[in-house]
Symmetry: C2
Subunit: 189 residues, 2 copies
DNA sequence: CTCTTTTCTAGACGTTTGGTCTCGTTTTTA
DNA sequence: TAAAAACGAGACCAAACGTCTAGAAAAGAG
């Protein structure tokens, strides 16, 4: 008796081929044109293999994104809120090449409540948690007013990030991150 | 010779029936399940009538939203930035019943660049313009630092609004509007 | 009043996609 | 060797999109 399940085990090679194929497809066409058939064809596998393991195409893309990106979110610890925020925001803003992927996932989350839960837990709330560490440390150092609304501060940071990502009307570069960091420091006092 | 076009004129009654039907359908099912056939059936018109006048179902919903909501965005003028922001934000946050509609339109905009332009011009940027009036007046009164980033302040306001609307993880009520207004006033100085 | 133009409802039609199901095969454990 | 589960390939059905056709209706022009 072993702890392995009965029957042929899941093919890790196929799993990776599917994730790679999903990202490659996303590079060539936009998210709206992404199809399960297309991913299967490119990965050289049957559609059923994809449906067996992922409930929707968004779940495939999300897993591919999580696997590709540095799963560990860097949490800077420079000693001051100002420096920590600057490092965190510029690092976050720098991942701008992922915009099409993030846009697609958010669109899917808005239309599919089940995936929305998945997306929040595995991606969005992880990022919030990282920022919360920074803010909590600053609060412990007394850099944040006792009556400050930590949740609101996080919503300001990620709100601006997502709003600009979605509308694409203003830059999302390092100078922008720097200005946002300054604003947050002033608002936290 | 008149300025009326030749032929049978467009039926205003049918146009309104379609917009009403779209909103009614949205009350009963979520945006993802909204279909042109369903709207046509409920409005008692042929599909062609819808396709003739609107390029996509999102355009129908957007027009219905614009027609229903107070088209004129109230711009308070209380004499102080603090009061103006409080009034503007709480009025905006109060329209929370429109969440499903707004979610659907944003999702569609993320997947369809053509509609995205429409959505920004006819809805999102109109709201930004209203907020800009408030901030410009405050700047003229000297309530905002000369080097303040007005665009960033607007992105903070609407960023938090949309981020909470999309994620639905935190309240979007009048106390929240009040706290956000306070934060903005502090950040603007 | 008749002709032309355009919109109207109604619904058939082809296409695409999603998602399920079937088939015969392969890889594992018992 | 038998049972169990995953595999690739692809058939299959249902749903929705968007186009098209047909005949009726509503307006102006002559």
């Amino acid at each position: 008796m072993t702890d392995r399940r009965l029957g042929r085990p899941r093919s890790e090679a196929t799993r990776k081929a599917i994730l790679v194929a999903a990202l490659e497809e996303l590079d060539e066409r936009d998210y709206a044109a992404l199809t399960i058939d297309g991913i299967a064809r490119r990965a050289g596998c049957g559609k059923q293999t994809i449906y067996r393991w992922w409930p929707s195409k968004a779940d495939v893309v999300l897993e591919a994104l999580l696997e590709r990106a540095d799963t560990t979110i860097a949490i800077p610890d420079e000693g001051s809120l100002s420096d920590d925020l600057l490092a965190f925001l510029t690092a976050t803003f720098r991942q701008r090449g992922q915009r099409p992927t993030l846009i697609g996932l958010m669109a899917h989350a808005l239309l599919d409540p089940v995936f929305a839960t998945e997306f929040k837990e595995k991606f969005l709330f992880k990022r919030r948690a990282a920022l919360r560490v920074i803010l909590d440390r600053a609060a412990a150092r007394g850099e944040i007013a006792a009556d400050a609304d930590i949740e609101l501060l996080m919503d300001v940071a990620y709100g601006v990030l997502w709003y600009r990502l979605l509308l694409d009307h203003a830059p999302l570069d390092e100078p922008a991150g720097s200005r946002l960091a300054k604003l947050l420091v002033r608002a936290a006092r």
